[in-house]
Subunit: 552 residues, 2 copies
C-alpha cells in the first residue's frame, strides 16, 4: 500500500509539502513557505501544519527537496526545530539551504547532496532517481520514485526549455529512460500554467532583448529579477561583459545568492567584472551595470529606495535604462511595484517592464512554469495511470483535469486534492484516503502558530477602526470617583477631536450615574453599549473599546 | 488669460477634477472619488482637496460632468456640502447623480441636463459644446470649450467603437465639425491606454462570444459586470431573450442602475423578461439568467455570497455557466476576486473570466478606454497646439508624451501635470502656472479629512502588531498600589499567552520599584521602554503600548 498526502501545496501556488507513506515509513517531498494574504495583518510567513509529521516522526525517513525556491525549502528550518531528519537535495539547493539554516542558527542537520544527472538513493522504502528539469532557478528536479506499489513521477515544476539561461536544460533523455523502464502508477505535477496555450517560451531570447534595450544606453544601466534567478543574472553579466560595463550588485539577497551559485560553479563571471560600490566611483555612469534586488518593488528593498532617491550609495538619473525581468507583483506588492515604476519614470529613467494587461511584452520575461504544451508533453513522456495536479490554485487544477481528459485519462483517475487529502494506491487501484486535518500556521516575529482567528480578527478592527481605552475610577464599588478617562489611537485625530472624547467622557459618566450600578460587569456592559453607539452616531466608525475599572 | 488646473486626476486613474479659470471666473470639470490604497486602513473613499474651490467659491460658475462613473461624479455630494453651484450633465449622468445626491440627503441643487448631440451652453466665460464619445457607460462626453484664449478640447475618456453595446457610438461628425471650425489651443485627454498598441476592440463581438458560452448551458446562466455597464447588461438581456431565459437581477447596485437607465430609455427590455426572486422559483434552472453584481469579488457582494453558498435567495450548482465580463480586479480586491472564482469552480460551475496573464481571453471583456490608435486618432481630429494627458498614471502620461511627439508635437508643448499643477495660456503661449497645494482627503464613516498621517500610522501599528494597555495604580504618587495590570488585543492569543503577560506585569513592577519614581512621566518613560524591549525580545513583535496611571 502507498499513501500520497497533499499535506499542503494544492489550491495555492506556494507552501509545497507532500508526504509519501509505505511500509510504515514516511518521506516528505518539499517543505516550503507561503506568503500572507491581505487579511493576515502583521504576519511574516505562512508555513504548513507539521502536526501530522511530528506525531509520526519516528516513521519519517527523510525530506527530499526538488528546488531552491522559498515555497519549496523555506519551511525546513521550522520543521527541523521540531524533529530531526535527513535531507536530500541537488548541489545548488544544498547551498541555499545551508545558508538558510545558518541564518536560523540551526547546526545539527544532515544534507545528502545528489547529482540530478545520475543519482539514485533510498529514503526509507522509496528508491529515488532525480532528473533535471528547466525552471527559473538552476538544479530544479523531477523525481522517479519507486514505491512498493510501483514507480511514480513527482515533478513540482518544469518547462521543456532546451536553451535555458542557466545552460542546464530539461534532461529529456533521462526522464524518458526512467519513464520507459516501467509502467508509471501516477504523475504528480505542476498545474500552474494549465490555462496557457502552447509551450512557455525559451529564455535565450531574453538576453538578446535586454541587450537591445541596453546597448545604446547613454548612461547607467540597471536590471532587476527575483534573487534566485541565477540564469537571468548570468544573462545580465554576459550583456555587461559585451557592453564593456562593470557590474555592481545591489541588495544583500542578490549578492548572497550569486555568491553561492558562483562558488558552486552555477554562474560564470568574467574576471574583475563585478566591482564594489566603492570602486564604482572610479567609473563613468555609462561604464556601469547595476543588478538590483526588489523587482516586486517591495517596501524597503534596494530598488524601492533607489526609486525614491533614498538609497545611500546608488542613484538613478535621467537617461538611465532600467529593465524589470520579472512578472507583475502579486496583489500584496503590486501597488508598491507600480509606485516604484512610476517614481523611476518620473525621474526620467527609461523603464522597461512586462505587463500583458498594459500591452507590454518586450520579451524581457518568461515564466518558470510550463504551459499546456509542457504539461501535456510531460504526460506523453510519463504516460501515468493516475494524475495529481499540484502547485496551483483550484482554477488550474480544473484546467489540468481538462488537459488530462483530453490526453485520454479517465476523469476518475485524476485526483484534485485539498490540503490534507490523500490518495491510497493498492494493487493498481486508487481511492481517496483519510484526510489529515490541517490548519494554516502563521509566523509573526518569533511566534509560530500563535496568531489565529481571534488575534487576526482583533487586528482587523484595530487596524481599520482604531482603539478607545476607557478607565473608570470607582470608589469602593459605590460611585465614580471621577469622570471616566478616555484615550484613543487610530480612531480620530485626537488633537482635533478633543471635544468628541470629552463629550463621550461626560455623557458616559451621566449614564453610569443614572444607572447607579458600579460593579465591573455593569460598568462593562453599559460602557461598551453606550460608547459603541455614541461613537458610531458621531463618526460612523466602530473602534475597538477596551474598558478598565480601577477601584480607588 | 486662461488657466487650466489639474487639481486632481493626473498621476492616478481616478479622482478626476479639473479647473478652468478665465475672466475672474472658474469652472470645474468632473468631480470624482478615488479608492483607498492598501496603506489607507479603514478608509472608505478618497476625495479631491476642495480647499482651493471653497476659497474661491464666489468665482465658481458651475460644474460640468463628462460621464457617470464614480471617479467623475462621486465627489460632487461632498463638494455640495461646502458650496452651492449649478451642474451640467447628460441625461443618464443626471439620473445617476440625482440618485446619488438623494442617498446623501442633498436636496438643494440644480442640474442642467444637456443633449450630447446638439447642446451648447455657457458656464461663466466658457461656451461649451459636448459631443458623444464611446466608453463603458452610456452618455459619456467630450467637450469643445470656447475660452477667451480660444477653443480647447477636453476628452476624459473615449474609444472610437462605432458599434458599442449601448448603441450610441462616438459622434465623429460632431467632433470633426467642432474641431474643424477653429484652431484648437489644447487637448486634455485620457492617457490610460497609451501603452496598448492599436485600437481598443469593439464591444459588439462580446455579445456573440458570451452567447456562445451560454447557449448550450444545461442549467442556470450567470453573468457579472460593473454596475454602470448598461451596454453590457443590454447584451446580456438580448442573449437571455434569444435563449428564452428569464432574467433575475441580483444586487441592489445593478437593479438601481438598470432601473434608471430603463426609465431614461438607455436600455431596451423585452416585456416580462425580468422577474423577481420570488417568481423565479416557478422556473427551471435552465430557464434562468442571473445578472449579478460583484464582478471584482468584493467582500459581501452578491457574487461573493453566492460563491460561498451564503446568499439567501440565489445559489449556483454544478453545471451552471458563469461569465465575468470584467477586467481583473485592482490589487485591493484581486485576492477576493480570485477567491470567488476558485469557490465557484470548486462548486462545479463552468466559470469564464478574462485574464491575459493567465492566457485567458475569450472575447468577453474589452476596456472602456482607447488604445494608442484611439488616442492618436483623437490627435488627428483635434490637431491641438498643446497636449495635456489626464486620467492616467505617470507611466501612461510618459507614453502619451511619446505618442504626441511621434504625432509631431513639440515636446515643450506637452504638459504632464501633477495634482495641483496648472498651465497658463496667454496669447497663444503656454507656461506652467502657480501650483495649488493639495492633499489627499480621506473619507471614513462620517469623517471627511480627519484621517491623516497620524491616524493611519497608528492604525498600521495597531493592525499589524496589536495593542497592549498597561494600568498603573499609584498610591499618593509614592508607591505602586498593586502590580500593573496589562491587557492586550491583536498582540498574542491571550488565552495561551497568559504567562507572558503576567510575567510582564511582575517584571515591570520590579523595575518600577527599583527605579523608585512614581510620577506619571517617569512611569510612562520606564513602562514604554521596558515593555517594548521585553515584548520584542520575547515575541519579535512591537505592539502599540498605551499607559494609564491612576492615583488611588
Amino acid at each position: 500500500m502507498l499513501r500520497f498526502i497533499a499535506l499542503s501545496g494544492t489550491i495555492s501556488v506556494t507552501e509545497n509539502l507532500y508526504v509519501y507513506e509505505a511500509d510504515g515509513q514516511m518521506m516528505v517531498l518539499d517543505c516550503g513557505v507561503g506568503f500572507p494574504d491581505l487579511e493576515m495583518h502583521g504576519v511574516d510567513l505562512v508555513i504548513p501544519d507539521f502536526s501530522y509529521i511530528v506525531k509520526n516522526k519516528e516513521k519519517l525517513a527523510g525530506i527530499v527537496v526538488s528546488q531552491g525556491h522559498e515555497d519549496h525549502i523555506g519551511a525546513i528550518p521550522f520543521l527541523l526545530k521540531e524533529i530531526e531528519t535527513e535531507i536530500w537535495a541537488a548541489p545548488l539547493v544544498t547551498g541555499f539551504l545551508k545558508d538558510k539554516l545558518d541564518e536560523f542558527g540551526i547546526k545539527n542537520y544532515k544534507i545528502n547532496t545528489f547529482q540530478p544527472e545520475s543519482a539514485q538513493f533510498e529514503v526509507g522504502p522509496f528508491r529515488i532517481q532525480p532528473f533535471r528539469v528547466s525552471h527559473s532557478v538552476p538544479d530544479s528536479c523531477g523525481f522517479a520514485i519507486d514505491t512498493p506499489e510501483g514507480r511514480v513521477f513527482h515533478v513540482p515544476e518544469h518547462k521543456f526549455d532546451q536553451k535555458p539561461a542557466d545552460g542546464r536544460p530539461f534532461d529529456l533523455d533521462r526522464a524518458k529512460m526512467l519513464a520507459g523502464q516501467k509502467k508509471v502508477l501516477f504523475l504528480a505535477s505542476d498545474c500552474l500554467g494549465a490555462n496557457k496555450p502552447g509551450f512557455t517560451e525559451g529564455e535565450a531570447k531574453i538576453e538578446d532583448n535586454m541587450e537591445g534595450l541596453m546597448k545604446n544606453a547613454p548612461y547607467a544601466v540597471f536590471a532587476t529579477a527575483i534573487s534566485s534567478n541565477i540564469g537571468r543574472f548570468q544573462q545580465m553579466i554576459n550583456i555587461a561583459h559585451r557592453l564593456n560595463r562593470k557590474v555592481v550588485l545591489v541588495g544583500r539577497s542578490i549578492q548572497k545568492k550569486i555568491e553561492i551559485a558562483y562558488d558552486l560553479g552555477y554562474i560564470k563571471i568574467p574576471h574583475n567584472i563585478i566591482i564594489t560600490y566603492h570602486d564604482s566611483q572610479r567609473f563613468k555612469r555609462n561604464e556601469l551595470f547595476y543588478i538590483v534586488s526588489g523587482c516586486y518593488g517591495q517596501v524597503g528593498s534596494s530598488l524601492y529606495r533607489i526609486s525614491l532617491g533614498e538609497h545611500d550609495r546608488v542613484e538613478v538619473a535621467e537617461g538611465d535604462v532600467l529593465v524589470f525581468s520579472a512578472d507583475p507583483a502579486p496583489p500584496y506588492s503590486k501597488e508598491s511595484q507600480d509606485f516604484v515604476i512610476d517614481n523611476l519614470i518620473d525621474k526620467g529613467v527609461d523603464v522597461h517592464y512586462y505587463d500583458l494587461h498594459e500591452g507590454l511584452d518586450e520579451g524581457i520575461y518568461v515564466s518558470g512554469h510550463g504551459g499546456q504544451g509542457d504539461i501535456v508533453g510531460l504526460f506523453k513522456i510519463v504516460k501515468p495511470h493516475y494524475f495529481i495536479p499540484i502547485g496551483g490554485e483550484i482554477r488550474y487544477m480544473k484546467s489540468y483535469l481538462d488537459l488530462a481528459i483530453d490526453f485520454g485519462a479517465n476523469p476518475a483517475d485524476i485526483f484534485r486534492l485539498k490540503p490534507g487529502e490523500s490518495v491510497v494506491f493498492e494493487n493498481g487501484n486508487a481511492y481517496l484516503g483519510e484526510r489529515v486535518m490541517t490548519k494554516q500556521v502563521l509566523v509573526h516575529g518569533l511566534g509560530i502558530g500563535d496568531v489565529g482567528k481571534v488575534v487576526l480578527g482583533d487586528r482587523a478592527v484595530l487596524g481599520n477602526e482604531g482603539v478607545v481605552v476607557v478607565v473608570f475610577k470607582v470608589s469602593k464599588g459605590k460611585k465614580l470617583a471621577a469622570n471616566p478617562e478616555i484615550i484613543s489611537r487610530g480612531f480620530v485625530f485626537e488633537k482635533v477631536n478633543k471635544e468628541l472624547l470629552s463629550q463621550a467622557e461626560r455623557r458616559l459618566s451621566e449614564q453610569v450615574k443614572k444607572k447607579g450600578k458600579f460593579d465591573k460587569a455593569s460598568l462593562h456592559e453599559l460602557g461598551m453599549n453606550y460608547l459603541s453607539n455614541f461613537f458610531f452616531q458621531k463618526t460612523g466608525r466602530r473602534p475597538m473599546i477596551l474598558l478598565v475599572v480601577v477601584e480607588v
